[in-house]
């Protein structure tokens, strides 16, 4: 017994090292597997407020670009208004369309912290549980999708960016509905890779990629990007498609959060279905 204590005492430096290292691993694992707002992260009020201060400066610098984006968005919305009037006249004739149920509601929020230069990127937004934000809400801009809400505190929330190794988005071609999944390969924040598209599907440069309706997070038909390059590797059954993302993650400042009102209904139905299989 004395020998054991002596051994421990002699190696106390290495033991302390191993203890601290395992604590770090514990933090990493806990942070990535449990979607709970722990005290030690960027939704922590003090840290978030510092970031907010930094962001005031950045926002002022980006003011011109933001204005242009808002003007474009207004124009876009006005176009839709006309379209909706037109289709409204049509809808009167069809019996099935008379029941309209609101499926998505939108929140707007400002980004107070953002990164694109890591392998796993996160954003922090200035909206939180007091405004009704919950984990797993989708985050988009007028140009396309940004990410998924991960942790929520009363005034802030963190968002797992699309630029993250665990993010996969179900995507399809706008022209022919063939679907695959869009992932980020970690090199350039402007490009992503579309996987699982069979090599018999014709792919052209300039094809538009949009979201599918399979996800319970994003509405279908949201713009994701445009094909810039595609090739079939020898021996593979799939295309390797390079996609230019429509969102430029380097200069985001305002985003929308999507609340899918029927998500729980869809989830519980799908879970009940898989339960019967087992």
């Amino acid at each position: 017994m004395r020998l054991l204590f002596l051994l421990l005492w002699r190696n106390n430096f290495t033991l302390l090292f191993l203890a601290l290292l395992s604590f770090c691993f514990y933090l990493m694992v806990q942070n990535s597997y449990f979607q709970k707002a722990s005290v030690l992260n960027a939704s922590n009020a003090v840290i978030a407020r510092t970031m907010q201060g930094v962001n005031y400066v950045r926002e002022y610098i980006n003011l011109k670009a933001s204005n242009e984006q808002l003007a474009r968005e207004n124009a876009n919305l006005q176009n839709r208004l006309k379209e909706s009037l037109y289709s409204g006249l049509h809808a009167r004739d069809t019996v099935e369309d008379t029941l309209h149920l609101q499926q998505y509601t939108y929140f707007t929020a400002r980004i107070i912290n953002n990164s694109v230069n890591r392998r796993n990127n996160y954003l922090t937004l200035d909206i939180g549980s007091l405004q009704g934000i919950k984990p797993e809400m989708g985050v988009i801009t007028s140009q396309g999708i940004v990410g998924i809400v991960k942790q929520v505190s009363p005034h802030f929330c963190t968002v797992m960016s699309f630029l993250h190794k665990d993010t996969r988005i179900s995507a399809k071609f706008k022209k022919n509905e063939f679907f695959g999944s869009l992932v980020w390969d970690g090199e350039d924040p402007r490009y992503a890779t579309l996987k699982e598209i069979d090599k018999t599907v014709p792919v052209k440069k300039g094809d538009t990629i949009v979201t599918t309706s399979f996800s319970s997070i994003y509405p279908s038909g949201l713009m994701l990007g445009v094909v810039t390059d595609s090739e079939v590797e020898s021996g593979s059954n799939f295309h390797h498609i390079k996609v230019k993302l429509s969102v430029s993650f380097q200069n985001l400042s305002y985003v929308y959060l999507i609340n899918h009102l029927l998500k729980n209904e869809q989830r519980s139905l799908e879970e009940a279905g898989t339960k019967d299989d087992n």
Partner: protein
């Protein structure tokens, strides 16, 4: 003694602020992330007890983690750095040993000594950090490239700041 401690705390605050407010927002070409804050651990006094060094390194990393939402990664990398530091300092010790209250800096031990000392420490830190971040071997070589490029840029920044914050007449040739 008290002035020394105040100096260390000041250096800590300045380096953390530069890292969090400036460097975390800068990106060169997608591959390069400089982490200047490791200079704080490099420049701790030589005679600091080994266990205290580990604890200080751990909390330094943890604070960076809190600001960049990477819980545990920087802390782990810093602890690795703190672990190899005493051994590496012993290997590099000058013939008559270290002066009792000296900081390991360019000013005290010269440019060549410092770059050998710093490059191994920074490389160890970046190696641990980038591989923990990716956490898989399928991107081994692209991660390796990121480690090497970021190490070079971090070293460049550390050397530059060594000269920026030293008065010329104090510097030894």
């Amino acid at each position: 003694m008290i002035i020394e401690i105040i100096n260390i705390i000041l250096r800590f605050l300045v380096l953390i602020s530069i890292q969090v407010l400036v460097l975390n927002n800068i990106q060169f070409s997608g591959y390069i992330n400089p982490f200047l804050y490791v200079m704080f651990i490099l420049m701790l006094p030589v005679k600091l007890p080994k266990s205290l060094l580990l604890v200080v390194a751990f909390f330094t990393g943890l604070i960076i983690d809190m600001f960049s939402n990477t819980m545990g990664m920087h802390a782990a990398a810093c602890v690795v750095m703190g672990y190899i530091r005493p051994g590496w300092l012993r290997v590099l010790a000058p013939r008559d040993g270290y002066e009792s209250d000296a900081l390991p800096s360019v000013k005290n031990y010269g440019f060549q000594w410092f770059i050998v000392y710093a490059s191994v420490m920074v490389l160890a830190h970046h190696f641990a950090l980038f591989y923990l971040e990716v956490f898989r071997f399928s991107e081994f070589f692209s991660t390796f490239l990121r480690v090497i490029l970021s190490t070079l840029v971090t070293l460049l920044l550390i050397i530059l700041s060594q000269y920026l914050f030293t008065k010329p007449e104090e510097r030894k040739k």
